[in-house]
Amino acid sequence: MPLNLLYAVFIFNAIVILGSAICSVTARNLIHAALWMVLSFFSIAILFVFMGIGFFAVIQITIYIGAIAVLILFAIMLTRRSMQEQEDKRLKNVWVALLAVGGVLTVLVMTLRQIPIFGESISTTQVDEMVPALGKALTEPAQYGLLFELASVLLLAALIGAIYLAFDRKKAEGEEK
């Protein structure tokens, strides 16, 4: 692919990411916000393809869009009645938030400029040979095996915790009687 075309596609994708993210955090209707979020996550997956790590693009789509976005959509629909009365109200303290966000952005950009490799480029060639290495690093006890086990315990705890929290105790007892 010629370089100019590559840049054009990349910049278009970046605009889609940031634009849909802005639409998502400012949308009045929460369902619209969640759908904008899905578009933004999909464009981030394309960003991973640009980095040459297609494996992470697939993970991004399956976990963020397939699991997290769908879960959020479910929660929005389950709690819809509460938000419908609130819908005409605008976002709260926008100016304070803009000030805080501007401050964080300035500090971030100033810090990032200090990084020695800031001016370099990343190649877009796919590096699929790193997937087996990643699998080995995750399961090898000498490397990140402990972290992997901790993540699985965390997921189990989250599973049990979510079931416990969402379980309607009064209703279940009423049905038993």
Binding site: M51, A75, A97, I122
Partner: protein, 102 residues
């Protein structure tokens, strides 16, 4: 070849957009939505730095995988708490859920 700086700037901007969402949303679900953007921005940073290096050390990719797992766990527990609160209070507006403060 894409300049490394572009990835970092996109991630920084995305983090700030997420922060804006967390600060301005009224409903707890909206705040969780902003949090997801912040987590994703961190993920882009991890992977960009990992890709910019020699890729011999797997730490960047491993941490990004862990962030995926933590984000999934966080959203599952967070939404369970929100639904549980909604059941007893009939609201998801964080300003109205202040029982621990009083």
């Amino acid at each position: 070849m894409i300049p490394f700086a572009w990835y970092l700037l996109i991630a920084a901007a995305l983090f700030c957009i997420g922060l804006f969402g967390v600060l301005t949303r009224r409903s707890a679900i909206g705040i969780l939505l902003g949090l997801e953007f912040m987590l994703n921005a961190v993920n882009i940073n991890f992977l960009a730095f990992w890709r910019a290096g020699t890729m011999q050390a797997m730490s960047g990719a491993v941490f990004s995988v862990i962030i995926f797992a933590v984000a999934a766990a966080e959203v599952a527990v967070g939404l369970a708490i929100i639904i549980s609160v909604y059941r007893s209070r009939r609201t998801v507006v964080v300003a109205e859920i202040s029982d621990l403060k009083e």
